[in-house]
């Protein structure tokens, strides 16, 4: 109890010292960062699951090509699940005298389970969400149905033998799946009307779905899975990821990486500071020993101080983290469902524990030394405690860092790999720095130059300086990695979706209409993509391997072979496609029986260069050998194709054309002209999706920038910590030199040069290290290409030299302005 009071007294007194403040501040930052990111990630993760559920319409979906066992719907109630059913089919709609091929979805009782359909009350009216299905005798139809059939709301259409009133414009269906290129016009009806339409007969092509939602879908899925027959499959929220969740997941990964770096930087700052703090406590410890304190007492005294610090930093950091996570969430507001699940206790605990882990790893080893300070130090000042073996110190620190990585990273092994790379890098740096500093630069001209003098001063304190250089280098390296990642990640995303991205697709342009269609758009100065030919074909076999739809192997279940693929031909490769294997065809009169395949599909179906692909195109079998693999920017809203063939390869087969174009808000009404002038053309508006993606980009950018503030702050802390740690020594030396008659200008210049050289050296090392890590991260983690930013290689070392010299100069200014006597008195104790 008395010890706690004493520890409290010490802690309170120490709180006035710069070191203690850096320690506390770094700790608070680390805790806050961890808390923020854990809270954010926790709630985001839950929100994402909710969103995926929305995309498939439930937490679990049974898809079937024939009516599934009715019991599978009823029995789910036993598991406490909510259920509904869907039947989707293509059919002919009739109204007045017009007919239209459309795809109809009949929704059962309980619809919708997850997510909400959106509807509007007029053709161009604003849409809003509803939580119901159409009433009996009513249907909701999308704009294409309304435009094509030329009807208005309140008029009727027939499906099969039954007539329905169209009561609303359907603008969005939650359970549309990730495939928003479902081309046909769409109608939503009530499942109870289905039988009366008499559309569904034995043998009709209908996709039946049972949708389930609730806590126990997993155990229900376990019960159901073994009973499935051919043509039936279960989809859960993890198996269908839409574009948004991919972007959010990437953002989450990136934010985590940033947070981890901030925490590691804070650890560096803390380690550097703790070292200095401990050394300053040698005298205190010796005096305490002298006054009769046992080793245990001293350890308790410092451990209690550490615990107090960790508690305080834990509370403040958690509060701060809570607040920042709210800011982060509000920045990402529109991405995240408004009713977010409440955060669990675990993220807060994670943050809280971080403080203890860092203290344990970074502060405990130097504090342990205090136990060993010989009491004789009160008489003989130069006596030092036995040092702990380097092995102990590093293994404790390393295990703490590992713990942090495990706490903070989702991809533990990958992160560990990165950090062991960083570790090796640091060791190399240490060796290099030490070697460099020990190297006597013997070029006589250099030795007497200013830089040479800086170098010489650096070398004199090789040990403490190599520590500082490494701290600076690692800090700048991590910041460089993050900054570059940020620029390129966001740049990449933004490039995919420029301001003038196309927001409408036009399909089914007939060959004889292509020219007119192009003219229609061009005359109205509507920007558009090239018009591509499109032939639909089903992939039947790869070499001699037959692909059976609905089979049990993963390849058989791949979406791409369960439906027709869009094939096109082109003499040149589309703008943002890139060849990753093989070669594009050079001339017009090259082979005709080759194909370029999208790389991810090729990977999923295990397609290699030179493989023979067999397609069924309008009943005709055609073979092509794989000439190249290509990456595609799916999110750029240009027509994209899995399969591209050389011109002439598909001659004689039925072809339509496709393009995408951009309509401004004002030009919306042109769509009506377009549709009436080209009745066969299908126009798909993707504004909503574009808007959604753009929002994501904007919000993710601000979120990332917010987290970068943490990294900047911790980086600055490292700088302060390193300068502070050498302050005493520098001041004493400066004062001594002045006592010996050195001019102020000389000392100031000396300091400036030393810090400058320190900055330059660490800048060079930082650039080297960052280059290595970046290569790794881009190659392995994000799998993206990157542009080398060469100017950084030169700019950073010089910038570092200037900044560090500046900060160092400011902090050590005392050495020049304060009287030597007062400094010597203060710092020689």
């Amino acid at each position: 109890m008395k010890l706690i009071r004493l520890a409290g007294l010490f802690a309170r007194r120490e709180a006035r010292s710069g070191e203690f403040r850096i320690l506390a501040f770094a700790l608070v930052l680390a805790v806050a960062t961890t808390t923020t990111i854990s809270l954010f990630s926790d709630r985001l993760g839950r929100a994402l699951l909710a969103q995926s559920a929305e995309l498939i319409g439930g937490d679990l979906v049974l898809r079937s090509s024939r009516p599934p066992d009715r019991e599978w719907l009823d029995f789910a109630l036993e598991f406490g699940l909510q259920t509904t059913q869907l039947a989707e089919f293509g059919t002919v709609l009739m109204s007045n005298d017009k007919i239209l091929l459309a795809s109809v979805k009949a929704a059962g009782a309980g619809y919708p389970l997850r997510g909400q359909p959106r509807v509007a009350d007029t053709r161009y009216g604003n849409d809003y969400a509803v939580s119901k299905r159409p009433d009996k005798g009513e249907v909701w139809a999308d704009r294409r149905v309304i435009d094509r059939l030329g009807i208005t709301l309140g008029e009727t259409i027939s499906i099969g033998v039954k007539t329905f009133t169209v009561t609303r414009v359907l603008t969005f269906e939650p359970d549309r799946g990730s495939n928003f290129f479902n081309l046909s016009p769409r109608v939503l009806m009530n499942h109870d009307d289905l039988d009366e339409t008499k559309v569904v007969q034995p043998g009709s092509r209908v996709r039946y779905s049972y949708l389930y939602a609730g806590e126990n879908v997993k155990s229900f899925a376990d019960w159901l899975a073994p009973q499935l027959g051919p043509g039936q499959k279960l989809i859960d929220i993890r198996s269908d990821k839409g574009g948004t969740s991919k972007a959010l997941n990437n953002a989450d990964r990136y934010l985590r990486l940033i947070a981890l770096m901030a925490v590691l930087l804070a650890s560096v700052a803390i380690a550097v500071t703790a070292q200095g703090y401990s050394e300053r406590q040698f005298d205190v410890s010796a005096m305490l020993r002298c006054l009769g304190a046992t080793q245990k007492t001293i350890m308790h005294l410092y451990l209690i101080q550490m615990l107090l610090l960790a508690l305080l930093a834990g509370v403040v950091g958690c509060l701060l983290g809570w607040y920042v996570h709210l800011v982060l969430l509000s920045l990402l507001e529109e991405l995240i469902p408004s009713r977010l699940p409440v955060a669990g206790v675990k993220p807060l605990l994670t943050g809280f524990v971080t403080g203890f882990i860092i203290l344990w790893g970074m502060v405990l080893p130097p504090i342990l030394k205090l136990k060993q300070v010989p009491p004789l130090r009160v008489i003989r000042r130069n006596l030092l405690p036995l040092t702990l073996s380097a092995w102990t110190v590093y293994s404790v620190a390393l295990s703490a860092l590992l713990l942090l990585v495990v706490l903070l990273s989702r991809e533990i092994w990958l992160t560990l790999l990165i950090f062991s790379a960083v570790g090796v890098l640091i060791l190399l740096l240490a060796a290099l720095v030490y070697g460099l500093l020990r190297l006597r630069v013997n070029i006589s001209g250099f030795r007497h130059s200013l830089a040479g003098r800086g170098m010489a001063t650096l070398a004199r304190r090789a040990r403490s300086n190599s520590g500082q250089i490494i701290a600076f280098a690692v800090t700048m390296m991590l910041m460089l990695v993050i900054a570059q990642l940020r620029t390129e990640l966001l740049g990449n995303w933004q490039n995919q979706l420029p301001e003038d991205a196309p927001n409408n697709f036009a399909f089914n342009i007939l060959p004889q209409e292509v020219e007119q269609f192009e003219q229609f758009l061009d005359q109205r100065s509507i920007s558009r993509e090239p018009v591509y030919p499109m032939v639909r074909g089903r992939l039947m076999a790869i070499n001699d391997r037959l692909l059976k739809p609905g089979g049990v192997d993963p390849v058989g279940n791949d979406e791409s072979i369960n439906r027709e693929l869009n094939l096109t031909w082109s003499p040149t490769i589309p703008d943002d496609n890139r060849i990753i294997d093989g070669a594009w065809w050079e001339s017009q009169n090259a082979q005709k029986d080759v194909v370029s395949v999208e790389a991810e599909l090729a990977k999923r179906l295990n397609i290699k260069l030179g493989d023979r692909l067999v397609f069924n195109i309008a009943g005709v079998q055609r073979q092509f050998s794989v000439r190249s693999l290509r990456t595609v920017q799916w999110e750029n809203f240009s027509p994209n194709f899995y399969m591209i063939l050389p011109p002439g390869a598909l001659d004689g087969l039925p072809v339509t054309y496709i393009t995408s174009f951009r309509l401004e808000e004002m030009q919306r009404s042109l769509l009506i002209d377009l549709v009436s002038q080209f009745p066969s053309v299908t126009v798909l508006e993707v504004d909503v999706i574009i808007q959604q993606i753009r929002t994501i980009l904007r919000q993710v950018t601000s979120a990332v920038e917010l987290m970068l503030v943490f990294v900047l702050l911790t980086g600055f802390l490292v700088l302060m910590a390193a300068v502070q740690s050498s302050l005493g020594e520098r001041l004493r030396e400066g004062a001594l030199m002045r006592a010996l008659g050195a001019r102020r200008r000389f000392i100031a210049l000396n300091n400036l040069m030393e810090f400058g050289m320190l900055g330059l050296l660490s800048g060079v090392l930082a650039v080297l290290g960052a280059e290595m890590i970046n290569t790794y991260i881009y190659g392995r983690l994000f799998r993206m290409d990157r542009e080398l930013v060469i100017w950084i290689w030169f700019a950073l070392p010089f910038a570092a030299a200037i900044v560090i010299a500046g900060v160092g100069y400011l902090v050590t200014r005392k050495a020049v302005t304060q009287s030597p006597k007062s400094i010597l008195a203060q710092y020689s104790g």
């Binding site: 002298c290 006054l291 046992t294 080793q295 009491p375």
Partner: protein, 232 residues
């Protein structure tokens, strides 16, 4: 306990201290033996480098000799471990140093409080205040060492040394960092308190005048006792 105290409080037998420098051994003290009686004031004199501080460190149990032994209040110091010696120090020993050795982050009062807190005494604040008043610094309680003059700092150090009522006080050149006038006052204070509390005093100094105020003087030359006499 106090009553059964033996008349001889400190015995040193054949103290030798050697340190290894480079490959050769340097003998700092050789074969030093002495006995000090309770309440006696002893000056250890000798030129700088003669081994005075080393001897003081050994007698106070701050260090252990290469050979020989020290018995302090019946405790065989070399048979104890560091923590054992620390406890003996906390119980019986007070220190005053040339460079004051106050903790810079603690106020004057807190510095005096420190040994009491470590020992776990009752009402430490009351005792500490009383001693600070005794050395004439009652209105400097909240001042930090760097706000006090050298003499004032040494007063605080003296208050810290006496606040635990030590049986023996070790002083290593207590006036070494002070001007003559201030040093004189400090010594007056030291002897006053010493008399009041009947403390045994071992004071290292190279100042003959100071030594003459003690009852006994031991002269060290190159690590050996060359003279041991009572001052008249």
């Amino acid at each position: 306990m106090e009553m059964s105290l033996p008349p001889t409080v400190l015995i040193a037998r054949n103290l030798t201290q050697r340190v290894a420098i480079a490959n050769t051994g340097l003998t700092i003290l050789s074969e030093v033996s002495l006995e000090i009686k309770s309440g006696q004031s002893v000056a250890v004199i000798g030129v700088s480098g003669s081994g005075k501080s080393t001897l003081l460190g050994l007698l106070a149990g701050l260090d252990v000799p290469t050979s020989g032994e020290v018995v302090l209040f019946g405790h065989h110091l070399n048979q104890l471990d560091e923590d054992g010696r620390a406890q003996v120090r906390g119980q019986h020993v007070g220190f005053v140093f040339q460079s004051f050795q106050l903790l810079p982050s603690l106020t004057a009062l807190e510095n005096v409080l420190l040994p009491l807190e470590i020992r776990g005494d009752d009402d430490p604040a009351g005792k500490a205040r009383a001693y600070l008043e005794r050395v004439g610094l009652e209105n400097r309680e909240t001042h930090y060492p760097n706000q006090l003059s050298g003499g004032e700092q040494q007063r605080v150090a003296i208050a810290r040394a006496f606040v635990t009522n030590p049986s023996i006080l070790f002083a290593d050149e207590p006036t070494g960092n002070l001007d003559n006038a201030t040093g004189e006052k400090i010594i007056d204070l030291l002897f006053e308190l010493n008399r009041e509390q009947a403390t045994t005093l071992v004071m290292v100094t190279h100042d003959e005048h100071l030594a003459s105020r003690c009852e006994r003087a031991i002269k060290l030359e190159a690590g050996r006792i060359t003279d041991d006499y009572l001052v008249d």
